[in-house]
Structures are given as structure tokens and as C-alpha cells.
């Protein structure tokens, strides 16, 4: 009499067990899908301090979300923690608390090298990131680290140097290159690794105006045409104005998150945020001070010239 009951109970149990697994699986995939749809980088409640003796946090409770294919500019004063933030995303420093997700994967000790493959970083000093003896050797450095075959390396190095227009300098030593050329080599080194995200940590700040404009247009090309997600940490207004979104960091905290147009209307406040204010914006401010009405939206040099010419015609 008992046997069929046990039998039935077991079958029921089995069904129930399968049902539970199904629910778990569905939940899990749904959860993961949500997370990947969430953005390519997600930072939740990140805290960091350089030394345990510091009372103040160098990054305090940072929440940041970066969409795939987006160009995010991070601005702030020297020592505001913006470079620290970039280093935390690449796992170059270990946070005190909080979580970082890159491309749906949580940054841990195990996933570290895998995540670094997805992120390329270009730093500030052109000299201090040139590892190779010559241009092609430097571009190949990251590839060598990943253990990629020599034939494949040659192809990728050549391609990357073509993108940054440095193919004629393949055999040059770093001493024979300008700062801007060295930064282009650094970018080629990143491109050869084919990451999803490229972080520019004040990469234009040590360059002359020409080199700076070349690098900025290269960043633009990488973001708009080749679909890289770009995070650029910068003081440079031209760089920030090209971004899709600007985040202001101050004192280790995220103080604002806005479109570049909105931000640049703030005029002289921008200096307090750690940006060098662009000339048209300063001109507008000065005109306003003298009682001349100017349009309130952000204007670059070209549109400022247009507006000025038109307003002269009116009078």
C-alpha cells in the first residue's frame, strides 16, 4: 500500500525539482541579460583610499554607469580622483569596497586578466608608457603578453599602425618621435589588442596643440567609426565637448552628470570644475558683462564667429 505513495511522491518531487531548476535558470539568464543590457561598465558604491592612514576616502561611494559605444568624459581638478577611478576600472588598484562590472563580468582577482583584455588604457606621459625598443616592438608588447602567434602579431601591428598613421615609423626608436607620435603609438598598442573599451587618462595633456588635436580626432574616429566605448579623463574642453556625456568628479565623489552642452553653459563655473574654459565661452561671458545679449546655448569657435558676424550685420 505504501509503495505507490512513495513512488508518486518521488515523481512529484522530481517534477518539483525540475521546476525549481527551470525557474532558477530562467531567473539567472534574465538577470544576466539585464546586467549586460545595463551597460558596458557598472560601478556600484565604490570606495578606495591610497593609504589606510588616510582618513578621507580617495574615492567615496562612486556609482557610475557607462553605456556601450558611448564617449564619456570625466573632468575634475588635479587630485580629484578621476585618474584613480580609471585605474580602479582596469583593476590596477584594489578598491576598499564596492563592485565593478565590466561587460557583464564582475571584477575579481580571477577575472582580472580577462577584463584587462577588454580595456585598453592610454596614459598621460608619452615617454613612460613606451616599453618597446622601437615603434613596432612597442605596439607588439601587449600582443606578446597575450601569447599571440608571430604571424598574427605582424598583421595586427601593421593594421594598428595604419589606423594611427604611423606605418612609416615602424622601425623608429622613441627618441626620434614627438610626444604626439608616441601617444599615437600607444593608441596603436591598444588597438592591436582589440579591446571594447579604451580609457584615455589625460592622454592629451602633455602634448603640443597640434599633437593634441590629432589625438582628439583619433579618439573621435575610434568612437564614432569603429565603435569603441571611450572614457576620456581630461582637462581639455575640446575633448570634453566631443563626448556624449560629461561626469564631474570632485573630492572623490561624482558631483554631476550632464550633456556637454548643458555643462558648458555654466561659463566661468567650469574653471571651478577643473576645466580650461574655451575661448568662445570666455568671450560670451565678457560680452554679457558689458551688457550685450548672447545666445544661451553652448557655441564652439565656428558658431561663435557666425553669430558675431551676424550680430554685426544687424546693427
Amino acid at each position: 500500500m505504501v509503495v505507490p505513495f512513495v513512488y508518486a511522491f518521488n515523481i512529484l518531487n522530481l517534477y518539483f525539482f525540475m521546476f525549481r531548476i527551470m525557474v532558477l535558470l530562467i531567473l539567472k539568464t534574465k538577470f544576466e541579460r539585464e546586467r549586460t543590457m545595463d551597460g558596458i561598465i557598472d560601478i556600484k558604491d565604490l570606495c578606495f583610499r591610497y593609504s589606510q592612514e588616510n582618513e578621507k576616502l580617495d574615492l567615496s561611494h562612486v556609482d557610475l554607469h557607462v553605456n556601450e559605444g558611448e564617449w564619456l568624459a570625466v573632468i575634475g581638478h588635479n587630485g580629484s580622483g578621476k585618474s584613480t577611478l580609471a585605474k580602479a576600472i582596469d583593476g590596477l588598484i584594489e578598491p576598499e569596497s564596492g563592485e565593478i562590472f565590466v561587460d557583464g563580468q564582475k571584477l575579481t582577482e580571477e577575472s582580472l586578466w580577462n577584463i584587462r583584455k577588454k580595456i585598453g588604457m592610454v596614459f598621460q606621459n608619452p615617454d613612460n608608457q613606451f616599453v618597446g625598443a622601437d615603434v613596432e616592438g612597442d605596439v607588439a608588447f601587449g600582443l606578446e603578453n597575450q601569447g599571440i602567434e608571430r604571424e598574427e602579431m605582424h598583421i595586427r601591428v601593421k593594421e594598428a599602425l595604419q589606423v594611427v598613421n604611423m606605418q612609416d615609423f615602424a622601425k623608429h626608436e622613441p627618441v626620434r618621435l614627438s610626444g604626439g607620435q608616441k601617444q599615437r603609438v600607444a593608441i596603436a598598442g591598444v588597438l592591436a589588442l582589440r579591446p571594447k573599451i579604451v580609457i584615455f587618462d589625460e592622454s592629451t595633456s602633455m602634448l603640443d596643440p597640434e599633437g593634441r588635436m590629432q589625438i582628439i580626432s583619433l579618439i573621435k574616429q575610434m568612437n564614432r567609426e569603429e565603435g569603441f566605448t571611450v572614457i576620456s579623463i581630461t582637462h581639455d574642453i575640446d575633448e570634453a565637448s566631443l563626448a556624449d556625456r560629461v561626469v564631474v568628479v570632485d573630492d572623490g565623489k561624482i558631483m554631476g552628470d550632464s550633456l556637454p552642452e548643458e555643462l558648458f553653459q555654466k561659463g566661468n563655473e567650469l574653471i571651478d570644475l577643473g576645466l580650461d574654459v574655451p575661448y568662445p565661452q570666455r568671450l560670451k561671458f565678457e560680452l554679457n558683462k558689458r551688457g550685450i545679449q548672447t545666445p544661451s546655448e553652448y557655441m564652439d569657435e565656428g558658431s561663435m564667429v557666425n553669430w558675431l558676424s551676424r550680430s554685426i550685420l544687424k546693427n
Binding site: 596614459f123 616599453v131 599571440i148
Partner: protein, 264 residues
């Protein structure tokens, strides 16, 4: 200062330039060993002839090699004089206290001089025809067997190549700091020895600080580009062992044979 450390390599397309750096390195060391087989005029003439042949093949003027001897000339003269004054045997020409000059001593002195010049010419040939980075790559592959006894050969080679890459950068920096300190009234290379040593301090401290900063930046950049030790790394630069390299080795074996035959 730059010339002393790095500027030795002379670009060229000669036979010697195109030899495999591993072979060149090994044979240069080997040459130093077989120079000690020489003990009479025939052997020294043979070796000198070989070295002159290599110099000719390298397409580099003899002047560069002679320049290579110059910094060591005092060491050479000192050793030669030791040989001349303290060798015994043969006919005595002159005698004073512990010093004696004999014909054997004079001959020994000339031999020692030749030995030095031959070795310096050969090592100069190596550095003139091989880029520093080739030398460091060559060393890496020659030392590879040592990885078995846990010698970090990859790391040493990488360190060496990074050091070589940074020499010109640091030289530039030195010049900049020197100029900056001159502008503040420091006199380099003037006054007595103590003063000169003192004047180096305001040069060394900023240089140290900045090279530490550079090292830290570089380490971060290397880590960001996925460097995690020598394991599993591939090499971009290729070393190719060609027919000429084998011929060079055969030539050296023949040379050794000839030396053993000719020496007494």
C-alpha cells in the same frame, strides 16, 4: 655621455651586421677564450689577420676600432709594463732591485698588448654591428637553459631592454636638469674634486625622483597592457639562423684547429 653608452652601434648592411646576434655573441666570447691559446708570433699573426678580415667585412673604418682601445689604454700599458719589468727568463738587458728587463719579458709585453687589442677589436666589432636590443635578445636565448634552474632570464632580458630604451630618455632629462640647475647658479665640472662631487648632488636627487616616478608609471602601463611575467609570452622580434651563421661557426672551429696546430 650618450655616445659612451649607446652610440656605438653603426647602422650598416654588411655581412657582419646581418649575422644572427646569438652567433655573434657566442663567437665573441669564444674568441676571447681562444686568444689565450696564442703563444707565438705565428698564432698572433693568424688571429690579427682574422680580426682584420672581420673589420674589412663589417664595412666600418678602422678608426672606430682604434677609438675603442683608447679608454682602456692605461690599463693596457700598466699590464704591459708589469710584464716587461717582472718577467724572467732569457737574456737580461737591465736590472734594478726587483725590476728586470729581459728579452722574454719584452716579447711577453708585446704579446699582452696584442692580446688586449685583439679582444677589444672583437668586442667593439660586436657592439658596432649589433643593436643593443639584438644583444639583449641574443643574451636571452643564449641564457634560456638557465630558466631550468629558476633564473628569471625573461625578466632579466626585459629589464635590460627597458633600461636600454630609457638611456636616451634619461640622458635628455639629465641635460634638462643640468640646465635648470645651471640657471640657479650651480657650476658643474668646476672647482676642486670635493666641489665637483657636491655639485652633482642637485643633479642626482631630481634625477632619482623622476626615474622612480617613471618606473612606477611604466609598471602601471605594462600591467594595463597585460604583462604578467615571462610565462606564456611570445616574441615579436625574430632571430633567424642563416647559412652565414653556420659558416662563421665553422670558420671559428677551423681557426681553433689552426691555433692548436701552430702554437708551441
Amino acid at each position: 655621455m650618450d655616445k659612451m653608452l649607446l652610440g656605438r652601434y653603426i647602422n650598416g648592411e654588411s655581412l657582419i651586421h646581418h649575422l644572427d646576434p646569438r652567433g655573434k655573441l657566442f663567437l665573441s666570447f669564444y674568441f676571447i677564450v681562444i686568444v689565450f691559446l696564442c703563444n707565438n708570433w705565428e698564432t698572433y699573426v693568424l688571429m690579427a689577420a682574422m680580426v682584420m678580415l672581420f673589420v674589412k667585412l663589417s664595412d666600418i673604418s678602422l678608426g672606430f676600432f682604434i677609438k675603442g682601445v683608447r679608454p682602456l689604454i692605461w690599463l693596457i700599458l700598466f699590464t704591459v709594463l708589469l710584464q716587461i719589468f717582472f718577467s724572467s727568463g732569457g737574456q737580461v738587458f737591465w736590472h734594478f732591485g726587483p725590476f728586470t728587463i729581459t728579452d722574454q719579458g719584452l716579447i711577453n709585453g708585446v704579446f699582452v698588448f696584442c692580446r688586449f687589442v685583439l679582444i677589444i677589436f672583437m668586442s667593439t666589432l660586436l657592439t658596432l654591428t649589433t643593436t643593443p636590443i639584438e644583444i639583449s635578445d641574443g643574451l636571452e636565448s643564449l641564457l634560456k637553459p638557465l630558466t631550468k634552474i629558476k633564473v628569471p632570464v625573461y625578466e632579466i632580458a626585459l629589464m635590460l631592454s627597458i633600461a636600454l630604451r630609457f638611456v636616451p630618455t634619461l640622458m635628455d632629462e639629465t641635460t634638462k636638469i643640468m640646465n635648470a640647475q645651471r640657471a640657479r647658479g650651480v657650476n658643474f665640472g668646476e672647482g676642486n674634486l670635493l666641489k665637483q662631487i657636491k655639485s652633482v648632488i642637485p643633479l642626482l636627487i631630481p634625477l632619482f625622483v623622476s626615474s622612480f616616478n617613471r618606473a612606477e608609471d611604466l609598471a602601471t602601463a605594462m600591467e594595463a597592457r597585460g604583462y604578467h611575467g615571462g610565462e606564456g609570452r611570445t616574441k615579436y622580434r625574430e632571430q633567424e639562423w642563416r647559412k652565414n651563421d653556420t659558416l662563421a661557426v665553422i670558420l671559428f672551429i677551423a681557426l681553433t684547429g689552426a691555433l692548436i696546430f701552430l702554437r708551441n
